[in-house]
Symmetry: C2
Subunit: 424 residues, 2 copies
């Protein structure tokens, strides 16, 4: 009896990339290569799910073992990612049908989707719809988001490294300001990501381990901005310590729900200046308290900072990739590879399957118990939760003073379908 060739798999990166999403890709690809009898080729979507829709499939079998291994320490999305959401079947029927058609044409039986809430929702829908259409696909979600807002997982790979980066940056810049506050800048503001959930803002707070050390004030998206209380808090830090370091979420809102970043600035033509809550806060402090300020906006630097990735984060990012393949091989589907914390001190965890339906479209905000009563800092409980996630350093290799990150060949598979597909 002729042995049937193993069927192929498809892997796509989705949404904003991170310092460790390629570590997950590394886990998926290395584990798949360990099971040649069960998984044939792994195709990756060029620019994420768009690559499947447009039949731009990258043949990862063309990449050397060394290149795949190098993904573990390479930031950003090695195959490209996209902000593109498939809606309901009723609204996006053509896209779902196209996806299944492409999967069929390339004998793809397994779909690994590496992303956030939306991606878990899409993977769940593909699982259901593919069965209805008579071509059942094994769908495994793999968590990734710097926002740390997926439910049913201890944390989201990508977050730990941002957390480490912002905590270190706050410590270093805080020391800088403290050195010179007597004659120079007294206020330092670091703007960080996290439009809805304040996890990254909270991570800034990890830097404050000794009395008076930075940051002195955190502004969370979960807490509406109270200007009077904030200014009093800033002045108190200046009085006590000579300076005040502030971590602020890009998603900070006023009492009426407006983003602070949209309230303050207009350009020379009178257009609202988008982005940049830090300068708004800085101007407010200068006008009301008269202190000299500096501000930084970390923006993409924070989520791509592989040079100071958390070793714990890298390990978990890799582990969820490996587990996703194991789940698929063991016959599971419509599940996400979630991290379950089994102990905090010492930190212990394992990867477990959780139903995609329970993860999709839900958001994990900071619990109120993680924010201090006055709303301006983190609690010891929050610190206990966060600390294991930034543990350890996982340095990339360097060459000529710069990190030696890999670029893949990204060779496309010849197309098999007659029709092309245009992304709206």
């Amino acid at each position: 009896m002729a042995k049937k060739a193993p069927r192929n798999a498809f892997y796509a990166q989705s949404g904003g990339v991170t310092a460790v999403i390629n570590a997950t890709a590394c886990g998926v690809l290395q584990e798949a290569r360990r099971h040649p009898a069960r998984i044939g080729k792994v195709f990756a979507g060029r620019d994420g799910i768009i690559g499947a829709l447009t039949e731009n499939l990258i043949d990862t079998s063309k990449e050397s073992a060394a290149a795949i291994a190098a993904l573990r320490y390479t930031p950003a999305g090695a195959f490209g990612s996209c902000l593109y959401k498939l809606k309901s079947f009723a609204e996006s029927e053509a896209e779902y049908r196209r996806l299944i058609e492409v999967f069929k044409a390339h004998d793809i039986a397994t779909f690994f989707y590496n992303g956030g809430n939306d991606s878990m929702d899409t993977a769940n829908k593909v699982s259901r719809i593919s069965s209805q259409l008579g071509y059942p696909i094994t769908c495994i979600g793999i968590p990734k988001t710097v926002d740390n807002d997926l439910v049913l997982t201890d944390n989201c790979p990508g977050f730990g490294s941002v957390a480490k980066y912002v905590a270190i940056s706050m410590r270093e810049a805080g020391m800088d300001v403290a050195s010179m506050a007597r004659t120079s800048t007294k206020i330092f503001i670091l703007e960080v990501m996290g439009r809805h959930a304040g996890w990254i803002t909270a991570a800034c707070g990890l830097s404050a381990t000794t009395p008076g050390s930075a940051p002195h004030v955190l502004l969370f998206p979960e807490i509406r901005f109270d200007e009077t209380a904030f200014l009093a808090r800033v002045q108190r830090a200046v009085d006590r310590y000579g300076y005040c370091a502030i971590g602020v979420s890009e998603g900070l809102r006023t009492a009426d729900g407006t983003f602070l970043s949209e309230t303050g600035l207009t350009d020379a033509f009178g257009h609202a200046q988008l982005g940049g809550v830090a300068p708004v806060i800085a101007n407010l402090i200068q006008q009301r308290l008269g202190h000299k300020y500096h501000w930084a906006v970390a923006d993409y630097l924070q989520r791509s900072a592989r040079h100071i990735a958390s070793a714990s984060d890298v390990e978990q990012a890799y582990a969820v990739g490996v587990a996703a393949v194991k789940f698929a091989i063991s016959g599971k589907s419509a599940v996400m590879a979630a991290i379950k914390r089994t102990s905090t001190q010492p930190y212990r965890w394992k990867v477990e399957p959780v139903p995609l339906a329970q993860v999709a479209n839900r958001e994990k905000m900071m619990p109120r118990a993680f924010i201090s009563a006055d709303g301006f800092h983190i609690t010891p409980a929050c610190r206990r939760y966060l600390l294991p996630l930034i543990a350890g350093e996982d340095y990339p290799p360097y060459q000529g003073g710069l990190p030696r990150y890999v670029s893949l060949k990204n060779q496309l598979v010849p197309k098999k379908l007659y029709e092309s597909f245009t992304i709206r």
Copy 2:
């Protein structure tokens, strides 16, 4: 014959602090401790030269050898620094007299001044004036400035680490943008320091080692902003590579000499928004080319980023501190411990004394030959100059996921003078 006690020394940090100015302090203090017969105590100025004027002298002999050793990997100014400039003797006579009085009261015979142009000028004046006043002080300048703008030294300790940080940040953020440009951000702008000299902007360019990699455009303070040429250059990168990454100096100016950062934005009250050339450039691109953008302002993060300091920079920062003490002991005065490059490949250097008078108040701008003909990138000559300065990584120790930086006791010496001195 009773042996005379060795006389004391005074060390002060001046101006903006850096990731490695404490490595210089480490060099000074460790070398001084190696010569107990020649140098008594080393006092450090609390908040720099202000500490001398107000007689707030830190007794570094109270610090353990371990604490002093830890300065090598601790960023910012361990004793405090200040932006405070002594003017000419005619204008600031009281201050010079006070300085000498404090030095006399504490038997200080040597003055180590660790700073930029202004500090070299002050050290030079103190040398001359102290002789005129009959209390000659040995004055040794030690270079420090992230701006890299001191003359007669190959580079300025502090710069190499900023250079490494911005080059790595540009590489990482550039890869992030490249991954997602098809459906998301096409323009990324990183604003860096260097108001007059474009050395830090140039260092961003080190990241571009393969065709199409970030950055695609650099905007130097030495080159007046040409909007039309700039926009054409941005669009060309988007057409060719799908995205455009830009490094811009905070000191970029329009053709009439106005800072770009002061042209664009006003706050809700109509005040000009100070700082932030990145959002001005971003808005311009969006209005004229219609591309989605992101921008980052590294601000103090870049100059305090000890977590990714250049090993070459740390080594040189330490070496100039050691050399300063050696110069003093060997009877030199009114000199700066300058770095002399003796070979580029391999990079070889030594520390040499150069007359303070030749360094004071001069500025080393980027040579035009280091900027490409079109004004938007660096040349191979610039790359050859810069690369050795970012060579090697010198990681600090970590504890609980964060760098374990030292805080000194900073115990003050009892005051000896009756009169206090008030800083203007």
